[in-house]
């Protein structure tokens, strides 16, 4: 259990921290614990939220019964986490979910594609090719409903965020922000460089599972034409 630390986030949450970096190995530990807790919740557990490097567990302290009376509910939850970790680290988490997201690059859907190409001294085709050839890991969903933080983008197309963010980024926009890439599920202000757009909906609040993606998914992109974009109908 090297390098794993616990800290309370107030009196109703505990964070298990696996390190301070963004990398897939660390993240697979995050996902291992997340998945175990979701399948085997403990009494008093409310919800589990993974991030790049931590798992935060929200719990109800009035529903925790410490085995030793002198322990606080927090201390008891730490003990529960330690024993869950023993089990979760026995096997390596592998994502079973692969999602393919169609993107129409450039033109009116990708107003910043030219800027990204020029910044990195590449042609627009080369930028698209480099964006397409990777497979990406979803590290977490946050910032706005359904927004995926994707890992694995090549630094060859990394481009700084806009100094002045746009007031409105259209839903489905695919962007590059520094070394990261992501998709805006709903219209929102945003400072990322927009290189394309997807016709599929990453967030639908009426659905039982409202977000198309979740932490641990593997994502690939696929290029589509403007005509395919316009005729897209959940195909």
């Amino acid at each position: 259990m090297d390098n794993i630390t616990f800290y309370p986030q107030g009196d109703q949450a505990i964070t298990v921290m696996f390190g301070h970096e963004i990398n897939e190995e660390l993240h697979s530990k995050v996902m291992g614990l997340t998945q175990l807790l979701q399948h085997e919740p403990f009494l008093g557990m409310v919800e589990v939220v993974p991030s790049f490097h931590t798992v935060t567990i929200y719990y109800n302290p009035t529903m925790i019964s410490p085995k030793t009376p002198s322990l606080s509910p927090y201390d008891e939850v730490v003990n529960i986490m330690k024993s869950k970790l023993k089990n979760s680290q026995k096997s390596i988490f592998r994502s079973e979910r692969l999602k393919t997201i169609p993107i129409c690059y450039g033109g009116e859907f990708g107003p910043d594609l030219k800027l990204v190409a020029e910044y990195n001294q590449l042609t627009e085709e080369e930028v698209i090719h480099l964006h397409l050839k990777q497979s990406y890991v979803v590290y977490m969903i946050g910032f706005i409903p359904g927004f995926p933080y994707l890992g694995g983008m090549t630094e060859q197309i990394a481009t700084p965020r806009k100094a002045t963010p746009r007031l409105k980024v259209p839903a489905g926009s695919v962007g590059i922000g520094g070394e990261q890439t992501g998709v805006y599920p709903i219209e929102s202000p945003g400072g990322w460089q927009l290189i394309g757009r997807t016709p599929i909906k990453l967030f639908q609040y009426e659905k039982k599972t409202p977000s198309l993606l979740k932490a641990g998914d593997i994502v690939r992109f696929k290029q589509i034409t403007v005509e395919q974009f316009e005729n897209w109908d959940g195909v």
Partner: protein, 342 residues
């Protein structure tokens, strides 16, 4: 039963105890800002504690009831009245059909909760009736209430029906009548004028410079007018760290105290984003969140440290008092039904 909005008030929304289980998808918990007042309002009229209520902020709405109804108003005193007669808070009330409920000057606190028997009936979005204003979903059409909106209630529980029929049978003359029972001050005394809010230390507290550590627990912060359901901003001296911190974003609970680049504290509230990357110097003790939610912008407040053991012990104590109240109300309702069958 339906009620019609004649005037929308300041920020009036339908909320329940929040959207649980979806923060992993980036969806905020939302829900009531003062959980204690909302739950008690529901209990008083025989509702389930998670039934949807109307959260009213500073200036309440004007509402007309289209049928006889049981309601309760808990939390802030926003001068609730019918026909210029002031309504008591923290009690079950029987309101006659056609009555118009108006609010006036805020006297104490800033958020009041109106519960109606059966709970407000709006669709469940992700298992909750709470409104997420920014996202435009949940509650009443995903927005604050407006003039001419019509809200309905869900079917009443058995307890609510018993209470309602007791009042109807007694044919009371006023536009409203009230039950005898009131809530113990042990539960409602968080409204005291003392402006101290307790907090637990956060992971980045120790990285503050000495002057900032001293400031946090000694100065009076002013709650900025730029405070809302997403967060409270506090005006005070600029807080600084010994050296700048580079942090990865991670989940943030209700009550997280962050220090952004301008050194002015932000306390994250019900509609906060699910993750944050600013340094976290503390967390408001959950037991004091209702008190904080009742503090009006412009008000001064101080922060006092609390250990996690004490904070959790206080939560256990509040739960005990709350369960006592719940049992007391159930007993009172049973007594009322015995009276009725005689």
């Amino acid at each position: 039963m339906s009620l019609k909005v004649l005037d929308q008030g300041l920020i009036t929304t339908v909320q329940d105890l929040g959207r649980i289980g979806y923060q992993q998808y980036g969806i905020p918990r939302s829900g009531v800002m003062d959980e204690l007042a909302a739950k008690i309002a529901n209990l008083l009229i025989g509702n389930n504690e998670n039934d949807a209520v109307i959260e009213m902020t500073v200036i309440g709405p004007t509402l007309q009831f289209q049928a006889d109804v049981m309601i309760a108003i808990c939390g802030a005193d926003l001068s609730a009245a019918i026909d210029n007669k002031k309504l008591p808070l923290w009690r079950p009330l029987f309101i006659k059909r056609g009555s118009i409920l108006r609010f006036g000057r805020p006297i104490k606190g800033c958020r009041a909760y109106l519960a109606i028997a059966g709970g407000i009936d709006v669709p469940h979005i992700m298992n909750s009736r709470s409104t997420y204003i920014r996202g435009g979903f949940g509650g009443y059409q995903g927005r604050i209430l407006q003039r001419n909106d019509i809200l309905r209630n869900s079917p009443l529980t058995k307890s609510s029906k018993l209470l309602l029929s007791y009042f109807i049978q007694n044919d009371l003359p006023c536009p409203f009548a009230t039950g005898n029972w009131t809530v113990s001050t042990r539960l409602t005394s968080y409204f005291e004028y003392n402006s101290e809010i307790r907090f637990l230390k956060g992971p980045h507290y120790e990285q503050l410079n000495e002057e900032s550590k001293l400031s946090i627990t000694s100065i009076e912060f002013i709650i900025s007018t730029h405070s809302d359901r997403m967060g409270y901003r506090l005006n005070g001296p600029k807080l600084k760290f010994v050296k700048p911190l580079q942090l990865l974003s991670e989940p943030v609970p209700f009550g997280t105290i962050q220090v952004p680049d301008d050194g002015q504290l932000i306390i994250l509230m019900a509609d906060r984003q699910t993750i944050g990357g600013y340094p976290k110097v503390g967390y408001i003790a959950t037991v004091d969140l209702p008190k904080l939610a009742q503090m009006m912008p412009g008000r001064k407040m101080t922060l006092k440290e609390l250990s996690i053991e004490e904070a959790q012990q206080q939560l256990i104590e509040v739960k005990r008092n709350y369960l006592e109240l719940k049992n007391g109300i159930q007993l009172a309702i049973r007594r009322v039904s015995k009276y009725e069958s005689n």
